[in-house]
Symmetry: C2
Subunit: 380 residues, 2 copies
């Protein structure tokens, strides 16, 4: 593969009451283009990742909308795959360059969630799940609670171990100026927070977030700041949990990661940092196990001992941005933000949360309860 | 380009009260795979085009949903660009093969519109338009009525000439077993039908339709039935009419067509048949002019004289399927159905509506009132 992340841009993540989706997109894309040094007129395509604008705001056709809004006037696409929309759009952008159709494209992930009532957002998010789950009244916290319970029963994973994921990610987020949460928390805070879907507490769950992230992709590898995408893989599984062979792993993650490691010609031990899809704390444990950074059933214990935390070398640092839990989870933006974070880290520009001597990073983005998984590997 | 349309599948188009989106998708995709002779396990990716499932049915994540439903278990994407979703998904599929990511993919367009109240469908369709248009209460018939009025004033195009488009397309649809309407109509029928948005009458407008279409794309050019995609181009314009320089042309269509002719190395006179986006009769006149099959301002008159109609050689036959007007317009399916029709014609399997000795065909798919235009050129 011969794809360069030439520029990155990101807004603050959080409850951005005074920002519109357009203003967020503009900040992220203009920052990415300026950062890339590419002239705006050289941009040839736009890939927009978003899940909720249609369901909650009755606005479709976002590709053309943002192409106009950003003054690009280029071929534009909206790519959707629930919470994996960002990762899918990045891959679509990568393919568009590898195909020879375009030389330079922008991938934009954007979501504005706080303009809508929480129950409307919750209902719209279930659009990522199966019909049966929706009719049964399931919510994503409920579905991931089932995954957590299965993991606890099979491997002895504890609520404290899951809480340790949130503690780590809030610590990382406290070092990230763009993060939604800048407060560090303790295991006790997590355990004493309101129960959302037993065994998951409020602080086991990623929040509702507004935000946008953008990257400029190009086949020009001479870019000085360039970080390269060396693998881009997707896998799918059943939409609903009922169809899965196992509830203690996400097989789409396993497949996408395996294919990505083969494509990149690197292994788990070569990865210095990873952004994984911690929509719930159990999801990060599953991700670390299924990607193969830790052994199945052992990652909960490792988490309690501080593994995967910044500054505890050796081994991979997970979610240096704060992850979905600490940095926030604006659905369509998340997968693009992961690439922004990895790129910043590989450039060595992450300040207080810099992973020492980071050369290879991995991004892992999930849609629904694991129906879609996207894995990208990036190298300096 | 080296892309083969190896297989095609399509459902009947119409008010299919007893069919679900899943059943429609299954029929179209299984037909396309069987037709291609490709083994199901060789399919490596799925691109789903749909606009309304999220807005009207609160179901997102259609890529993974249909990947499971169809028993494919492959990387899957949803691509949206309003009424151009189908064309965009075809292009995304093309790029995925040219990029080397996949060898064989399925592109599925599917829409189920009749399960919802007409006013809900109408409101959801305005998701393709600009915010200003939506807030002003504009509808698509209203927007295209403005385009029609501008064309009438500038070029003297008449209501009769527009009606002739509907007459032609109903005639073609009467020869298409899958079409929504099999009744031929007269200019008088059109002129006497209810006024929807002056000067557009009911029979100037494409209907609300359920349906699905699917194609198997592969880089294998040895496929005996193979028809080849020799150009695939997209262009965008402002989402709303207010931003346009001219109301008597769709500049996105002009751009996409120009680029496609250059890419294919052919000109307008080499095209034997075209499926163009006749969501309203005026839209077909604009399309024929902007693609360059006829001169700007003269196509209305040509239409009255039967040009572009099956059996009136020489010249290009337009909308042999019946187009959106006669065959029906299941939003996400339309752009894929155009490729199905062109492929059938180039194979010579269209029976009564066969275009004599058709060797090169063009498909033109529009999103909104012209914010997105997609042009594909196919060759036997």
């Amino acid at each position: 593969m011969n794809i360069t992340v030439a520029g990155i841009g990101i807004t603050k993540f959080g409850e951005l009451w005074s920002a519109s989706p357009r203003s967020l997109a503009k900040i992220a894309v203009e920052m990415a283009i300026a950062d890339s040094g590419v002239e705006k007129k050289s941009i040839q395509g736009l890939f927009v990742a978003n899940m909720l604008a249609g369901m909650l705001g009755m606005q479709g056709h976002l590709g053309a909308l943002f192409s106009e809004e950003l003054g690009l006037s280029v071929p534009a696409y909206t790519v959707e795959g629930a919470c994996a929309s960002g990762g899918l759009a990045v891959q679509a952008g990568v393919m568009s360059i590898l195909s020879g159709q375009y030389d330079t494209v922008v991938v934009l992930g954007v979501e504005k969630m706080t303009d809508h009532k929480p129950e409307e957002v919750s209902s719209a998010l279930m659009g990522a799940g199966s019909n049966e789950e929706r009719l049964a009244g399931a919510t994503f916290p409920g579905l991931y609670a089932m995954l957590a319970r299965a993991h606890m029963e099979k491997f002895g994973t504890t609520e404290k171990q899951m809480a340790a994921v949130a503690v780590k990610n809030h610590f990382h987020a406290s070092l990230n100026p763009n993060a939604q949460y800048k407060n560090t928390i303790t295991v006790d805070h997590v355990l004493r927070s309101s129960c959302i879907a037993d065994p998951l507490k409020l602080l086991d769950c990623s929040p509702v977030t507004d935000g946008a992230a953008a990257i400029v992709l190009t086949k020009d590898t001479k870019n000085k700041k360039g970080v390269h995408i060396i693998a881009s893989q997707i896998a799918t599984d059943t939409l609903g949990l009922a169809g899965r062979k196992s509830l203690t792993e996400l097989s789409a993650t396993k497949q996408a990661a395996q294919h990505a490691f083969i494509q990149a010609g690197v292994g788990q031990k070569d990865i210095h940092l990873a952004e994984v899809h911690d929509c719930f704390t159990i999801a990060e444990i599953l991700a670390i196990e299924d990607i193969g950074f830790g052994k199945k059933g052992e990652v909960g214990r490792e988490m309690e001992h501080g593994t995967y935390t910044l500054g505890t070398a050796p081994g991979v640092v997970v979610n240096s941005s704060g992850g979905l839990k600490g940095c926030g989870h604006p659905i369509g933006a998340t997968g693009v933000k992961q690439i922004v974070e990895i790129t910043s880290q590989l450039r060595g520009t992450c300040g207080k949360r810099q992973v020492h001597d980071a050369k290879i990073g991995l991004a892992h983005n999930v849609g629904g309860s694991g129906a879609t998984a996207v894995v990208h590997i990036l190298q300096k």
